[in-house]
Assembly symmetry: C2
Homo-oligomer: 194 residues x 2
Amino acid sequence: MTNQTQTADRARPVRERLIDCASELFYAEGIRAISADRIIAGVGTTKATFYRHFPTKDDLVLAYLHGKADWERTAITAAADTPDAYDALGGVVGVLANSSCQPGFRGCPFINAGAEYADVTHPVRRLVAEQRQWWTDFFRSLAERLGVPAGAPADSAAGQIMMLRDGALVAGYLDDPALVEANLTKAITAVTAP
Amino acid sequence: MTNQTQTADRARPVRERLIDCASELFYAEGIRAISADRIIAGVGTTKATFYRHFPTKDDLVLAYLHGKADWERTAITAAADTPDAYDALGGVVGVLANSSCQPGFRGCPFINAGAEYADVTHPVRRLVAEQRQWWTDFFRSLAERLGVPAGAPADSAAGQIMMLRDGALVAGYLDDPALVEANLTKAITAVTAP
DNA sequence: GTCTATAAGAAGATAGAC
DNA sequence: GTCTATCTTCTTATAGAC
């Protein structure tokens, strides 16, 4: 065992630990609900160090959302990486439904961030828009794999599946997560049926 | 013209004016983003008067959400009050799509409140759950009017339509509101098809 | 019921020593 | 790069006069 591994937790750069702690707290309780002070206390550092790494709190918020975006893209890309289009769909629905059932699930971090950031020109909102565009593009290509004709039909299918994705994550948070998988599967099947 | 009408704006009880001002600001910018001070200044009253009417800020938040719930129930009930089930569906979709296209649209106030209130036992979250139950019940009966068999099939249809409603409101806020009506209509038609 | 004044704490952010 | 100490502003909420 290397020294690095032994002291990994304390040796990990403060910057990373700040992002990890912020990710947990921002997602669990909301961004405005969490002060910089609470993250500083959670990591065990000081204000000065915090603001040396992140000039403003919003810079840390952006780092948090970038991490969530990376996770989503990796997980969804992997779930869809199979030859059969229906398996790919099942894999994607599985990731969404499974996430919804995890303890501490609080819905989509980007929808939640949108609720807290009203200014559409704010960097947070730009990142939200980017990530939603990624999802829409992903669903368009999945729809095409499922046999929906490219062009307007696939665009429309992508929009409809995106609505279902959003609704599934909202339902997983505010309603009954146990119903998400069945309802989402049925609905996506219906909107992509020939 | 009565004296009441002439002085309506200033004579309207402070309590109502506080709720109206709060509704605009909470919805437009987020609940935690708006301080009691800003609402007090918006109405032109004082802290003491504010806290006499609403012991805590959360009491005003609840009044705001009650107002939104009343509006939704009234508008949706009216839109569905027609003999033909497809007209009723069109009316409901019309209300949702039209709302999404209004300037200042910020999505569903209950989804947004859920993002800001993480404690499921908080009165705000209880109100959110109540209003979502109302919607689900409404969609279940609409699905039955559209020919979906009562029981499990109507329950499932209600869950799927609810996902689409949520997704439509999210899309109207974070994506392109102009696409909401067509996509929502197609998707609900698909999930309720025999 | 409404006002002025103020408490008491938390918020985001910075100065300057080490 | 990190620390102690501090600044300024904002936040929810109250006391006591009228």
